[in-house]
């Protein structure tokens, strides 16, 4: 198996040799760079960065403990959770990376295909197997795709990176429409199959994914994906990296022509898939079976919720509906107000691992918004879980609120950045903390350059940091949405300087409180009023903005 220890160990030892040859001068940087990138090792502004894939966001306690240990032994005692279910270590030394990878291999984790023009870490709904209203658990499908795509000989040198996301729920928490391929598990006439989207993505040319196939029978998934990848591999623009993603191929060819080519290939490929893939899928389904839920009274939950206002606030804001009424999905916010979005210390990772073992069937998820999730917690255990989180500084009650800001590393770490994003997130959170709960759901997202790693296009409020005449300049978009009906935010006007952006956002959020009708969310108010009153609030004090 591809995450088998032997396979990973072989890969690590190969990389160890390559690192040694780089250090003794036998390999030049030009020769070494693609090799390190194949192992998830980037060189950033101030240090190397190791990106580790957390397939479909699933983590076991022993894996999270290994990540904690790695961060302490070979990094600076923390890790950064991203929007693509990866964790990044920001300070590894080149000589230590083989040891880090070896430690990862011991728990079945790796950094393969976290870089380069390959099929990247397959992402999935972080509430998989737990979210109320789910059609089917997307993890077996995501795992099947991962097994198929890892080391796939034909797809190691695609025109560009390729991202696949899977959801099995009507509410699309995997942002499938912003991926190169999005797979949605659906049901039609009692039969289960897939709606396949392609060509979604953000970056400098954002597009919502388009439906390639409205209903693909279950048995056809891998040959169909292979047909899409094959068509793209041939037609994708290799001459211009800004036009190389499948979203551009689709725009240039048109949906009908691209789909026709995919269907032609699919028809040719289909017979060669004999059904072994279906057998694997059936086996995977048993591997991802639900844990043994216990039927117990939920009285302690109700009592604590009545007696303790702090617990009550956390429970009301950070819990989501589970498939079982006596269980809940608990969101562990990695967004303490004023903290770095997505960062967790080694000690915090260990606490989460322990709590997951005690109260969460040993199941931990990384979300797509830089938070962690315990998907299966009995309501009776929530007060104790909350107490444990609180001791570790992990009980911020802000999941989905304005202070739960998604922010990429930006100019504090990233070599591609044109502006900082983390300090902007920190300061906005501080500024709006007093009205965050009152405002209710509000999605603020910040990217430090046009690559859009912070998904700024998908925020109710999106912020894009650029450089203008040697200074940071922040463009604001309004009305983005990440879900099933994904929408790309619209630009409000000229950019804001670094000292203007935080007060401007603060004004817009406060304006929403004055504008809203009872019960409306920020997004609903914006949809009703249109952008004008928000734009007026944003630009109120910056009429000389350039």
């Amino acid at each position: 198996m591809l995450d088998g220890h032997d396979y990973l160990t072989r890969r690590v030892e190969e990389f160890r040799t390559q690192v040694a040859r780089r250090i003794d001068g036998s390999l030049t940087e030009e020769e070494f760079r693609p090799l390190r990138l194949m192992n998830g090792l980037y060189l950033q502004l101030h240090a190397y960065m190791l990106r580790v894939a957390l397939p479909y966001g699933s983590l076991r306690p022993d894996q999270l403990r290994a990540l904690a240990e790695i961060s302490e032994r070979w990094d600076r005692g923390y890790g950064h959770f991203t929007t693509r279910q990866n964790i990044q270590f920001n300070w590894p030394r080149l000589v230590d990376v083989p040891d880090m990878l070896a430690r990862l291999a011991e728990v079945g984790l790796h950094a393969i295909q976290t870089s380069g023009n390959t099929i990247r870490n397959v992402t999935a709904d972080p509430f998989a197997g737990a979210g109320a209203g789910e059609v089917a658990d997307p993890r077996p499908v995501a795992e099947l795709i991962r097994l198929w795509s890892t080391d796939h000989p034909e797809f190691q040198f695609l025109p560009r990176k390729f991202k696949i996301a899977v959801t099995g729920a009507p509410e699309d928490r995997a942002i499938t429409a912003a991926n190169d391929i999005g797979v949605r598990i659906v049901e039609k006439d009692g039969e289960r199959g897939y709606r396949v989207l392609a060509g979604g993505g953000l970056g400098r040319t954002p597009f919502v994914g388009q439906v390639l196939r409205d209903f693909l029978p279950e048995a056809d998934l891998l040959p169909y994906l292979e047909a899409v990848l094959g068509s793209y591999n041939l037609a994708g623009r290799r001459d211009n990296k800004y036009k190389a993603r499948i979203k551009i191929t689709l725009q240039e060819q048109g949906l009908a022509a691209f789909t026709a080519e995919v269907e032609r290939r699919f028809a040719a490929l289909r017979p060669s898939f004999s059904g072994a893939d279906r057998q694997v899928l059936a086996e995977l389904r048993t591997r991802f079976a639900a844990p043994g839920f216990a039927a117990r009274s939920t009285a302690t939950f109700d009592e604590a919720r009545t007696a303790d206002p702090v617990f009550r606030a956390w429970a009301d804001i950070n819990l989501r509906a589970h498939q079982r009424a006596d269980h809940a999905i608990a969101i562990i916010s990695l967004k303490p107000v004023g903290g770095v979005p997505g960062d967790a210390s080694a000690a915090q990772m260990r606490v989460v691992a322990d709590l997951a073992e005690r109260f969460g069937h040993g199941d931990i998820r990384a979300g797509l918004d830089q938070n962690l999730i315990l998907p299966h917690v009995h309501r009776a255990d929530l007060p104790a879980l909350h107490a444990g989180l609180r001791e570790a500084g992990l009980a911020t009650a802000n999941a989905g609120l304005g202070t739960d800001i998604v922010a990429c590393p930006g100019l504090d770490y990233c070599s591609l950045a044109t502006a900082r994003s983390i300090p902007v997130a920190q300061e906005i959170a501080r500024r709006i903390e007093d009205i965050a709960a009152e405002t209710g759901p509000l999605n603020i997202r910040i990217s430090g350059c046009i690559n859009a790693c912070g998904h700024h296009h998908l925020g109710d409020i999106g912020i894009l940091g650029l450089e203008k005449a040697g200074a940071e300049s922040y463009q604001v978009t309004l009305g983005g949405r990440p879900g099933t009906d994904m929408a790309i935010g619209r630009r409000t006007g000229p950019g804001f300087g670094a000292d203007e952006i935080v007060p401007a956002i603060d004004r817009a959020v406060r304006a929403s409180l004055a504008l809203r009708l009872p019960g409306e969310t920020f997004a609903e108010t914006l949809a009703r009023t249109g952008p004008d009153p928000f734009v007026a609030a944003l630009y109120e004090e910056t009429s000389d903005a350039v």
Binding site: G25, L43, L411, I422, A471
Partner: protein, 101 residues
């Protein structure tokens, strides 16, 4: 000075740690831009870069990082270079305002 050439420091990342380093006038690599050699003409920049390329074992991705003379030695002259020199603002910083000084 050649027209269009922007004065700067030879800068790179350390091969082992990835840390930002600058070339000093005695050919040693230093951590602070203040201690580095400010290059003001293009010909010298080319010679210095060629010299570095001949010894690839220490520095990665050497280039001329824009800089200008300051009271205590050269200082970064571009926002990106400012952050390369100072390290991430985020974890250590106390308030937003400070960074704009």
């Amino acid at each position: 000075m050649a027209k269009g050439f922007r004065p700067g420091l030879v800068s790179a990342n350390d091969l082992i740690t990835g840390a930002v380093i600058y070339l000093a006038s005695d050919d040693s690599w230093v951590a602070r831009p203040e201690d580095a050699d400010l290059i003001t003409d293009e010909a010298r920049a080319a010679t210095r870069l060629a010299h570095i390329e001949a010894q690839p074992g220490r520095a990665v991705g050497a280039y001329i990082a824009p800089a200008e003379p300051g009271a205590s030695g050269p200082r970064p002259a571009h926002i990106r270079e400012h952050f390369r020199a100072s390290g991430p603002s985020a974890p250590a910083r106390a308030s937003w305002g400070e960074n704009h000084a």
